[in-house]
């Protein structure tokens, strides 16, 4: 009985959480639609979210591409299929790893910072001060972050995948001795523009996940510094899990629109 009650309570909390995130997303999109946009804040956030996230995304994409190439080479070499390493890595980077890695890294770097900043504003009454000054917190805090995220994320995803493929080329050709012309030709042959589109579509969804979960956690933060810490942890965990779960369903759905191979 207690287990059933506990399960129902957790499920109800999960539904409430989804409802709050959806409500925040709806309110933000309505504000954007109504033109309540502060361009200066959007540019500031693009610098914070997009520009300053590049290093972490490039390093993650690059080294993932490099290690993936090495492991694929060790397996394919035994079958004399080492030139297949290029397309395998390229497809994986564009269709799966690029968006997921960029999403998770942005959740850790940017999402956590968003929650901490908005959460601190909440517990120190700065959000109440905004409201008291007739400034809607969603317009002022969430809209610029959401727009900046939607603008930045496609670039970050492509950067992550692109540097993964570049690292793959370097490791495959320069370190492991795959013939460059075959590597390049096969990669080009099996990669299509639909792979990049899939990458961008996923990036857009992951941007929405990170920004709305992070802002929701910040806006709902309570109980001082401890509460902000909890909210920040919750952001990283919830965003990462949501990205991984949504990625599976997006892969299945997008594979119907853009079939692989």
């Amino acid at each position: 009985m207690a287990v059933a009650e506990f399960t129902i309570r957790i499920f109800a909390q999960f539904l409430a959480f989804l409802g709050q995130v959806a409500a925040l997303a709806g309110e933000t999109l309505l504000s954007i639609g109504a033109g309540r946009i502060r361009p200066r804040l959007v540019i500031q956030q693009i610098a914070e979210i997009g520009f300053r996230s590049q290093l972490v995304v490039i390093v993650t994409g690059g080294f993932t591409g490099a290690v993936f190439t090495a492991q694929a080479f060790f397996q394919f070499d035994a079958l004399n299929m080492e030139t297949a390493v290029g397309p395998v890595v390229a497809l994986s980077m564009f269709r799966e790893l690029g968006p997921v890695l960029a999403g998770v890294m942005v959740a850790g770097r940017v999402g956590a910072a968003m929650t901490a900043e908005i959460g601190t504003m909440k517990v120190t009454q700065q959000i109440d001060a905004l409201r008291a000054l007739a400034v809607n917190p969603v317009d002022y805090l969430v809209v610029p972050r959401a727009l900046a995220m939607f603008i930045s994320m496609p670039f970050l995803v492509v950067e992550c995948a692109g540097f993964g493929i570049l690292a793959s080329y370097y490791v495959g050709v320069e370190v492991l001795g795959i013939q460059g012309a075959y590597f390049f030709a096969n990669t080009q042959k099996f990669s299509e523009s639909s792979d990049i589109i899939m990458s961008l579509v996923k990036g857009f969804f992951f941007a929405a996940i990170v920004v709305f979960i992070s802002c929701r956690e910040g806006l709902e933060a309570k109980n001082g510094a401890v509460g902000v810490g909890r909210a920040t942890t919750a952001t990283v965990v919830n965003c990462s899990l949501a990205i991984l779960i949504v990625n599976f369903f997006l892969t299945m759905a997008l594979n119907i629109v853009f079939p692989a191979g």
Partner: protein, 252 residues
């Protein structure tokens, strides 16, 4: 003589936080242009009451009528025009951490659409001058003392003088000289700009300096409402304990 309508009418306001009943059918009328000082024990619901007046909290029941319109049922967006007429000074200032003093004070002007840098500069300088904070424009809030933060917050609240200002302990933590300048400023705003003020304070010196009427909040209700003379003359033990600063406890 025709009786004028109160600017703010509060009727039977009820609020609970957790299981604790903070406001129990609180009623109060605030007339335009007057300064009401709200006294009461710490944790007695004074700040909670102020937050209701600007729509930061919604009551469980009861009504607040501002300029003839019910505000307790309004949404965040619908409250925006009301909030443009009511300013609030928060207890700890609630300055924006990410902005320096200048940008904090200029914030309401910029948000109201003012783009002329000279007008913004002049008005910020004037507001900071009124609270003796000239020369601190480039400091970040984290580098200010509690009293300085409060004064900057006051400058922000008065830069576009609203019709009503709610002060949550404006002189707490300030030295007597700065407290006196804040009291004079509240008086100045009332006399020159006819600003209506509701001031939550424990500072009796401040109370006697600025109050047109004094309200004492006790057990979630307005226990006393009258002018300064009536407060001084009261023989009610609860009022006397508060006014004279007696706890009623014996020290062994």
């Amino acid at each position: 003589m025709m009786k004028t309508e109160p600017l703010i009418q509060v009727r039977n306001l009820v609020q609970k936080i957790g299981a604790q009943e903070i406001l129990r059918s609180l009623s109060l009328d605030v007339m335009a242009g007057e300064t009401i000082v709200l006294l009461g024990k710490s944790g007695g619901g004074k700040s909670v009451f102020l937050r209701h007046l600007i729509g930061l909290m919604h009551p469980l029941s009861g009504s607040i009528i501002f300029e003839g319109h019910e505000i307790t049922t309004l949404t965040e967006r619908e409250l925006e025009p009301v909030r443009k007429k009511i300013g609030m000074l928060f207890q700890d200032g609630a300055l924006f951490d990410s902005m320096n003093v200048f940008d904090n004070v200029a914030f309401p002007l910029r948000e109201s659409g003012e783009r002329n840098p000279k007008i913004i500069r002049d008005k910020v300088a004037e507001s900071l001058g009124m609270v003796n904070m000239t020369g601190h424009e480039l400091k970040m809030p984290v580098n200010l003392s509690g009293g300085m933060r409060k004064r900057v917050a006051l400058a922000r609240a008065i830069i576009s003088p609203p019709d009503v200002i709610l002060y949550d302990e404006p002189t707490a933590g300030l030295d007597p000289i700065v407290s006196d300048s804040i009291n004079k400023l509240i008086r100045h705003l009332q006399r020159e700009l006819h600003v209506t003020s509701i001031v939550v304070t424990h500072d009796m010196v401040s109370c006697y300096h600025i109050a047109d009427r004094v309200a004492l909040l006790n057990e979630g209700r307005i226990y006393f409402l009258g002018n300064q003379q009536e407060l001084r003359d009261s023989t009610d033990p609860i009022i006397r304990d508060f006014v004279d600063g007696r706890s009623g406890e014996t020290i062994y």
